[in-house]
């Protein structure tokens, strides 16, 4: 037993402004910096960064506002994104590669390929997406930590008060 099992996970929350294209990508950059500082392997950092980037973009493109939370758990990275907005009428359809409801403006900026959610699915070890029309969307994904990445987590918990 390392004690890590009972610890409060490392947690950081970021606010995302809907329609804030100027800063789009800045939160995933911050998440990436945290993960690099924590010493995670290139592969884990890359997968988490890509998934976080896409999740951040979804809030910016389609919601009014949202929060992205990063949790470093003893055996996984967990990211929860909750937004307030129009919601997704058909989650299964939205998950399909190439399906998009993006507006002209979103396309002009190079977004709206309909690949965001499948990109998240393809780069993570588990993903949950739920949505309520007119209220918002809840997205959650995990990236399992194994081997050296798991070893990195233990001291992280030990140094926390």
């Amino acid at each position: 037993m390392t004690g890590a099992e009972n610890s409060i996970p490392f947690h950081e929350m970021f606010h995302i402004g809907g329609g804030d294209f100027t800063n789009a990508g800045s939160i995933s950059s911050q998440v990436k910096k945290i993960l690099i500082r924590a010493g995670f392997s290139r592969g884990v950092v890359r997968r988490a960064s890509i998934a976080t980037f896409e999740a951040e973009m979804n809030v910016i493109c389609y919601a009014n506002r949202g929060n992205l939370s990063l949790f470093i758990m003893p055996d996984a990275l967990r990211v929860i994104v909750e937004d307030e907005g129009v919601g997704i009428p058909d989650v299964d359809l939205a998950m399909r590669e190439g399906y998009s409801t993006a507006t002209e403006k979103i396309h002009e900026l190079g977004f709206g390929a309909g690949m965001g959610l499948s990109n998240i699915k393809n780069h993570t070890d588990g993903m949950i997406l739920t949505s309520k029309i007119g209220q918002g969307t809840h997205l959650e994904f995990v990236i399992s930590l194994e081997g050296k990445d798991k070893e990195k987590v233990v001291p992280l918990f030990a140094t926390r008060e």
Binding site: R42, I50, A113, N119, N122
Partner: protein
Amino acid sequence: MKLREIRDLLDAELITEDANLEKEIKYVNAADLISDVLAYSTGPGALLITGIIHPQVIYAANTIDLGAILFVRGKRPNEATLQLAVENQVPLLTTRYIMFETCGRLYQLGLRACIEKVKNDRGGK
């Protein structure tokens, strides 16, 4: 292929003045959609050929550890994009060649794509 050779081959201009032109580039991705950039620029250090000049392309580059970005069709990023690139140490170049010509010339000299083909007709990897 070194970034310097790519610059010379395409009459390109290095926009981020202090960037390292000795950087070795092995793989290339060409895309005008951010999700495609993220999905198909596999492996760190790839060159991205694109027409996207918004700051998001730098954030995307940072996310996947791109080696450099080459803007085609004579496109130039604005000051915000340039500053972000400098901060994140992403070399930026611009060429007046269109995307097809740019890709063709680099392919002819041995550079290859990060990913050749997608798995299904919906863009799955």
